[in-house]
């Protein structure tokens, strides 16, 4: 009897989790299905590109700048233990473009964009604006979710690319002002040891993280519960789910890109 109760208690959340994964998968499939089918909402896409891409640039840029600087200091300090201070430029560059640029950029966009999308769409849901869209013969997934997901998937890799450059610049700045590196040597070491796929893999990760951020924002927003509490919960869930999925998918993508 106790065993049955225990199994039931264990099974219920497992089944609920599987059902939630299924709902998210169906939602994602629906968005992908709508991306290629008209009508296309170019204006909404443009607005989202501006909101997600352009307006996230300061936060992503500042994060990258400070991370690059701190990374240079850490590698210099750690490298000094075995006389490897000279590797600072290459490790900063590789660390930024492969890992820290996409992951921190993705997490910052998750905090800024997933919350904003979930709160906006959640409010639209509770104020019946999403129902109103349907009555006006407009598919809410096509009109609301597709432009956001597409814009995030395209904008985040660009943000990651810019963040990589700013992060490397942060390392260079600290290197020449605090660690007595020669500017030209620092830049030469950065370029010489950096490969195309280092950058490419980070950009692919950026696209995946952008998709995840917007997907979580849209899903939790459009399935938000009633009232302020419902919208608040949707916003929190969107940020938490996006952040965890970014970190999990980062590990999987790193396995695929660099260990096979």
């Amino acid at each position: 009897m106790t065993l049955t109760k225990g199994l039931r208690a264990l099974g219920r959340p497992v089944l609920a989790s599987l059902a939630a994964i299924g709902r998210v998968a169906l939602f994602a499939a629906s968005i992908i299905g709508h991306i290629l089918r008209p009508p296309f909402y170019a204006r909404e896409f443009g607005v989202q590109l501006l909101h997600i891409g352009w307006f996230s640039l300061p936060v992503v840029g500042l994060t990258a700048l400070f991370t690059g600087g701190a990374l240079a200091l850490q590698i210099y300090s750690g490298g000094a233990r075995f006389n490897a201070e000279a590797v600072v430029p290459s490790i900063v560059a590789i660390g930024m473009v492969r890992e820290l640029g996409p992951v921190l950029g993705g997490l910052m966009v998750a905090a800024r964009v997933a919350s904003s999308i979930a709160a906006e769409l959640g409010t639209m849901k509770v104020t019946e604006q999403i129902d109103a869209l349907t009555t006006l013969s407009t598919n809410p997934i096509k009109y609301l979710a597709v432009p956001r997901v597409l814009a995030a998937t395209l904008a985040v890799p660009v943000l990651v690319g810019v963040g990589d450059a700013i992060g490397i610049m942060g390392g260079w700045l600290v290197g020449i002002t605090r660690l007595d590196f020669n500017s030209a040597t620092y830049l030469k070491n950065t370029i010489d040891f950096l490969e195309g796929w280092d950058i490419g893999s980070g950009l692919v990760k950026g696209a995946a993280f952008g998709f995840i951020v917007a997907l979580m924002g849209c899903y939790h927003g459009m399935t938000s519960g009633r009232g302020a509490q419902g919208v608040g919960k949707a916003t929190k869930s969107a940020v938490v789910a996006a952040s965890v999925l970014i970190l999990a998918s980062n590990y999987i993508l790193t396995e695929v890109f660099f260990t096979s």
Partner: protein, 248 residues
């Protein structure tokens, strides 16, 4: 003609509609009354397909609404939502012209704007409101914009979900008169949900009372006040005591 036969809907263990039978004749104005939480909005959303009903059939001119081609079906409807449901990110005229700028009957932007301003005039709003955002409007103005959006594409059927909720009595009277005028002028079929008895008298040709998931009473407005149904009498006179429990 909209016909509902034995329509049921439950949310988990909570049964909201328990077999609704109702007919709304073309060109007539039907008002649904009933206590809070009796499923009036759910009924309306079931007709539109925003909520999928569990059982029974809903037909529009003889065709099952679940089998109808969605865009063509929805193009026949206009709806005024309880809170207006205006799109915050769009200007007033873009809200009104939303349907006019999309779909098969898409109009050029300038023409759609002119048509939207004309509809705003029809609901008593001046053209300078057109470029404002919904958040810059009062509750009464938002209702009027919602009404203008509902009638913008001149639909055959218009639904009004609690059109006077949250408005002062004068503004409620203005909205009631507008609804009546527009419905008569357009010859549209109208279905209104309200608790407001002054709205019922101003808008209705027919009245139906929803109680406990079923239609408790239905008949012409002229017969409502004199009808002997104790539920209707309690509701229209707002009595605390009677067959409808005050605690629901």
């Amino acid at each position: 003609m909209i016909e509902l036969i034995g329509v049921t809907k439950a949310f988990g263990p909570k049964r909201v509609l328990a077999g609704v039978d109702l007919t709304i004749a073309s060109g007539k104005s039907m008002v649904i009354i009933g206590g809070s939480g009796t499923g009036k909005s759910v009924l309306l959303k079931c007709i539109l397909g925003l909520i999928v009903h569990d059982g029974g059939t809903i037909t529009l001119d003889g065709q099952d609404v679940r089998r109808a081609e969605r865009d063509a079906f929805l193009a026949r409807f206009g709806m005024l939502f309880q809170g207006g449901a205006l799109f915050d990110s769009l200007r007033v005229w873009e809200n009104v012209a939303f349907r006019l700028m999309r779909g098969a009957t898409r109009h050029p932007k300038a023409q759609a704007r002119e048509m939207a301003i004309e509809k705003l005039r029809r609901v008593g709003l001046t053209p300078d409101v057109a470029d404002l955002y919904p958040a810059e409007l009062s509750g009464g103005m938002q209702k009027r914009v919602g009404l203008a959006r509902a009638i913008a594409a001149e639909p055959e059927i218009i639904f009004f979900d609690e059109p006077t909720t949250g408005l002062d009595p004068i503004m409620a009277g203005v909205i009631n008169d507008l609804i009546r005028e527009i419905v008569v002028e357009m010859g549209a079929t109208a279905m209104t949900i309200t608790h407001d008895m002054s709205s019922v008298h101003a808008i209705a040709d027919q009245v139906a009372m929803l109680h406990d998931g079923r239609i408790q009473w239905t008949g012409p407005i002229a017969e409502m006040d004199a009808c002997s149904d104790p539920y209707v009498q309690q509701f229209i006179h707002g009595r605390a005591h009677g067959p409808i429990s005050a605690i629901r």
